[in-house]
């Protein structure tokens, strides 16, 4: 749920501000301008779709797998920028003039990567169905009055 909501939010913010997102991609100095431009338009709808897909049981595994791949790419890009001493804003949730703290962003990326891999592996398995039944469905069930 957290994973889906984060990607949905991040995709919407980036889709509304393509110029700022393009600038964030450019700041990494990893790809040509044209590739950065294509990414600035391609990535936000992809994030929105995978964010939505995580909420749908049949699509959960595919979406979580894609999120894991994306998180691997984002983390690699971040480490490369860090290694080259670039003072960048990560561009993870739209534009910001503040330079990112690499430790915080890297930690967050790794947590999200772990979450995505976990969801991709355990989505729609017997264990996850049991968990959902016990905790999610159990929590939403209406309490009944004991009469005897």
């Amino acid at each position: 749920m957290i994973l889906g909501a984060l990607f949905l939010y991040s995709g919407i913010v980036k889709m509304l501000e393509p110029k700022e997102f393009l600038q964030s991609i450019e700041a990494y100095r990893l790809v040509l301008y044209e590739v950065a431009w294509l990414t600035a338009y391609y990535l936000p709808p992809l994030e929105i779709l995978v964010g939505l897909g995580v909420f749908i049981r049949q699509w959960r595994r595919a979406c979580a797998s894609l999120i894991a791949v994306m998180m691997l790419i984002f983390t690699t890009a971040l480490i490369l920028a860090w290694a080259r001493g670039l003072d960048i804003n990560c561009g993870c949730f739209g534009a910001s003039s503040e330079a990112s703290n690499y430790w915080i962003v890297l930690g967050r990326d790794l947590i999200l990567l772990f979450l995505a891999i976990t969801v991709a592996i355990y989505a729609d398995t017997k264990a996850s169905r049991l968990f959902t039944k016990k905790f999610v469905a159990g929590a939403s069930a209406k309490p009944t009055l004991e009469t005897n």
């Binding site: 889709m15 393509p18 110029k19 700022e20 393009l22 600038q23 450019e26 700041a27 100095r29 301008y33 044209e34 431009w37 600035a40 338009y41 391609y42 990535l43 936000p44 709808p45 992809l46 929105i48 779709l49 995978v50 897909g53 049949q58 699509w59 595994r61 595919a62 979406c63 797998s65 894609l66 534009a95 003039s97």
Partner: protein
């Protein structure tokens, strides 16, 4: 297994359509080519065609400005905005275009500074030098 590949294909192809629509429906979006100028950007070809003087504003940090800068440029960085804005306002003459630059085409400080000057002081002739300091080094 076949289903998951089908879903992955849909997920990977659909954003091309949505992204394409977003680019098509938003003409104010960033230009496709690195050579093209976005709104409010100028390059030396445009500046030469103006045939009038401009006020150069260097949006880089003071230490970078001290090392080298465009002749007659004023330093006005976002991090020292309050200290440096006074000198800028003294030098600024209405009717003279202001051209802001930062380190390279990868930096966003010049755009942010130009937006701030437009919003805070209602200046309309404020432009950003495409390519920033790197473009100046190539040009001079």
């Amino acid at each position: 297994m076949k289903r998951i590949f089908l879903r992955l294909s849909v997920l990977l192809v659909a954003p091309i359509l949505f992204g394409g629509l977003n680019a098509w429906l938003n003409p104010d979006g960033p230009p496709w080519s690195v050579e093209a100028l976005a709104e409010g950007e100028v390059n030396f070809a445009v500046l030469n065609s103006w045939e009038r003087s401009v006020l150069w504003v260097d949006a880089r940090e003071p230490d970078q400005f001290e090392q080298d800068h465009i002749p007659q440029a004023l330093n006005l960085s976002l991090s020292h905005f309050d200290e440096q804005i006074g000198l800028f306002l003294e030098q600024w003459v209405p009717g003279v275009p202001v051209v802001v630059y930062c380190g390279s085409r990868h930096c966003g400080m010049s755009k942010e500074l130009a937006n701030r000057l437009r919003n805070d002081f209602a200046m309309d002739e404020i432009y950003v030098l495409k390519g920033g300091w790197d473009a100046w080094l190539e040009h001079k």
